[in-house]
């Protein structure tokens, strides 16, 4: 049977089909390489001699292997402090995100909840009309949360897109009969939510943890606007100082920077690895979950 199919598939290949396949694989391989190579290059460059990198000698393997960049990174308290902050924002922030999102996703998933449409409108309205940068900024000042760790947890506490994904998941995956049975057993909504909805929503909660977690990890703008003290800075703000501000200040004056930035060069590569590693390490294991709900927001509430 199998051999027959294989033969059939082979027999049906015309010259056009073969050309298509060559063209197809070529494009996909090139696109894949264009993503893999830069990431690979940064890894090998982070272990190489900065002079070799500057001369364009580092292409496929590290040259003049050393760990100077990583040593400097490990010695740098600013980076570690920011790393700790980002871990805090990510862990505590995600915990808040998932709790609040599920708390409102469940009521909104109930078609016969009398306030459902009103609340859904109230929530979705904020996707389109916003107070904007300055009114929010002034209000956060007034609340006395400017330049605190709390503001980093407060502002992104619920994402409407993620809320809709969670709502649709509950609606489509937890049968209404379950609620009817539970309510016959005397379950209240809150007990049903805690004892039945949450355990059955593990899949979506993993997805929420991933989406929210990555957003916290990569968060830049709120830190830029709402934090003044370096001790509260998330990783991305420190990364920007290392990767971008140093370079932007030296534009045009190439020769003198080369000398100044030999060590700094290695730090740049190393810090990209150190900061991106957690995301890239969890990514392959969870990719299936990541992508499964990427379309969720396109479904109407």
């Amino acid at each position: 049977m199998k051999a027959g199919n294989a033969f059939k598939a082979f027999k049906n290949q015309t010259a056009g089909d073969i050309l298509f396949d060559i063209f197809n694989y070529l494009i996909l391989i090139l696109f894949t390489l264009s993503i893999l190579y830069p990431l690979y290059f940064i890894i090998i460059a982070s272990f190489s001699d900065p002079v070799a990198i500057n001369n364009g000698k580092v292409l496929f393997k590290p040259m003049g292997f050393n760990t100077l960049g990583y040593q400097r990174i490990f010695e740098n308290t600013k980076i570690w402090n920011a790393y700790g902050n980002t871990i805090f924002y990510t862990v505590v922030g995600t915990l808040i995100n998932v709790s609040l999102t599920m708390m409102i996703a469940y009521p909104l998933s109930r078609g016969n909840f009398f306030a459902r449409n009103a609340i859904l409108f109230f929530v979705m309205f904020t996707m389109y009309f916003k107070g904007g940068m300055i009114p929010t900024f002034l209000w956060m000042h007034q609340l006395n949360v400017y330049n605190t760790r709390f503001v980093m947890l407060l502002l992104p506490a619920i994402n409407v897109f993620n809320l809709i994904i969670a709502m649709n998941f509950i609606r489509n995956n937890i049968p209404e009969e379950l609620y009817e049975a539970a309510s016959l057993d005397g379950y209240s909504h809150i007990r049903y939510f805690l004892n039945i909805v949450l355990p059955l929503s593990q899949t979506i909660m993993i997805v929420l943890i991933l989406y929210y977690g990555v957003a916290h990890w990569n968060e830049f703008m709120n830190g830029l606007i709402y934090l003044r003290d370096e001790k509260y800075y998330p990783l991305q703000l420190v990364l920007r100082a290392i990767l971008l501000q140093m370079q932007a200040s030296g534009l045009g004056d190439v020769d003198s920077i080369i000398e100044q930035q030999k060590a700094a060069e290695l730090i740049k590569y190393g810090v990209i690895i150190v900061s991106t590693l957690p995301v890239l390490v969890v990514y392959p294991f969870l990719q299936k979950h990541f992508t499964k709900f990427a379309l969720g927001g396109a479904v109407k509430g």
Binding site: L28, P107, F129, G131, I190, L244, F290, T291, A298
Partner: protein, 314 residues
């Protein structure tokens, strides 16, 4: 005219609400904290939007500050920054659509034709991954790989005998750098919706095509493309609704004094006017103008999408 029967309807409504409340009050309870979040973080700042029509003074507060009508809007429309900022925003958006929109479609179609599942899964994993790299790291990588001194891209240009180009240091290269790096980062992720649409095409069509002796090019052209056309049209229309809504972070991070002529967009300008120059009212006015334009564009494009594809956001 129908005779009204208020005395009958009203009590019924009240008892119904009461009954619903008794049944659903715990649902409301669950919503309470999340709703408080929306009020505090999203709705209260909307009250502050009025400073777009006032001369906001921190000492007086939002309410006590003087009304100035459309002063700030007039100032923005007549400022020398108005056209450059609008032009840069629209220019970037349209180039993004022109070059960036077809790539995920192409990618999805190519992936869909791959028979080897292992290879397909591998390519998918790789092309989705840059979506999760932070914008700061992306901007840093651009500086590294586009460096005129030792960046990979310029090494390739030099290898073919060209002159090194400082992509981030010249205004004329900013747009293309912005768009191509966006494709690199997001094309894979954006392909997901088309991959899903392709998966929804009936296998019967392919079998029939095979029987008819259609080759792969013909199958792509006559089955795949028509099959996902509604999705394509919907996505394109929704993209058009976002042309004035270009994100702050990437443009801001790629910006420097040398490329400012091309990289200053509405959102970065709002930030500078507001938080760097502390012209709160002026910044809020520009922000409000932008927000209203975005809503008008989105609503009209959404209506268009519903008309053409029977698909819409709401």
């Amino acid at each position: 005219m129908k005779p009204k029967k208020p005395d009958v309807v009203k009590p019924a409504l009240i008892t119904r609400t009461k009954k619903a409340l008794r049944r659903d009050y715990q649902l409301l309870l669950l919503c309470a904290i999340p709703l408080a979040y929306f009020v505090i973080v999203h709705y209260i700042p909307m009250y502050g939007v009025q400073i777009a029509f006032k001369d906001f003074k921190a000492s007086k507060g939002i309410w006590e500050s003087q009304w100035v009508g459309l002063k700030w809007f007039r100032r923005f429309f007549s400022s020398s920054q108005f056209w450059p900022v609008i032009r840069n925003t629209l220019g970037l958006s349209f180039l993004q659509i022109l070059l960036g929109f077809p790539v995920p479609i192409l990618l999805a179609i190519l992936l869909n034709q791959v028979r080897n599942q292992r290879f397909r899964k591998f390519v998918q994993s790789v092309v989705y991954s840059p979506h999760f790299i932070s914008i700061v790291v992306l901007a840093g990588m651009l500086y590294i790989f586009l460096s005129p001194r030792n960046g990979f891209v310029n090494t390739v240009i030099k290898f073919f005998g060209g002159q090194p180009i400082f992509f981030l240091g010249e205004a004329k290269y900013f747009k293309i750098t912005f768009v191509l790096s966006g494709i690199w980062q997001h094309a894979g992720w954006s392909a997901i919706i088309y991959i899903a649409a392709l998966a929804g095409i009936s296998p019967d069509l392919y079998e029939a095509a095979e029987v008819d002796g259609a080759n792969k090019w013909q199958r792509v052209w006559h089955i795949d493309l028509p099959g996902i056309l509604p999705t394509i049209v919907m996505m394109l229309i929704l993209e058009m609704g976002k042309v004035m809504n270009l994100g702050f972070q990437k443009a801001y991070l790629m910006q420097n004094a040398q490329n400012l002529a091309a990289s200053e967009i509405i959102s970065t300008y709002i930030y500078k006017v507001g938080l760097i120059n502390a012209q709160y009212s002026y910044s809020t006015a520009i922000n409000l103008f932008n927000n209203v334009v975005n809503i008008i564009l989105l609503v009209s494009m959404n209506a268009l999408s519903r008309r053409i594809t029977q698909n819409s956001l709401w």
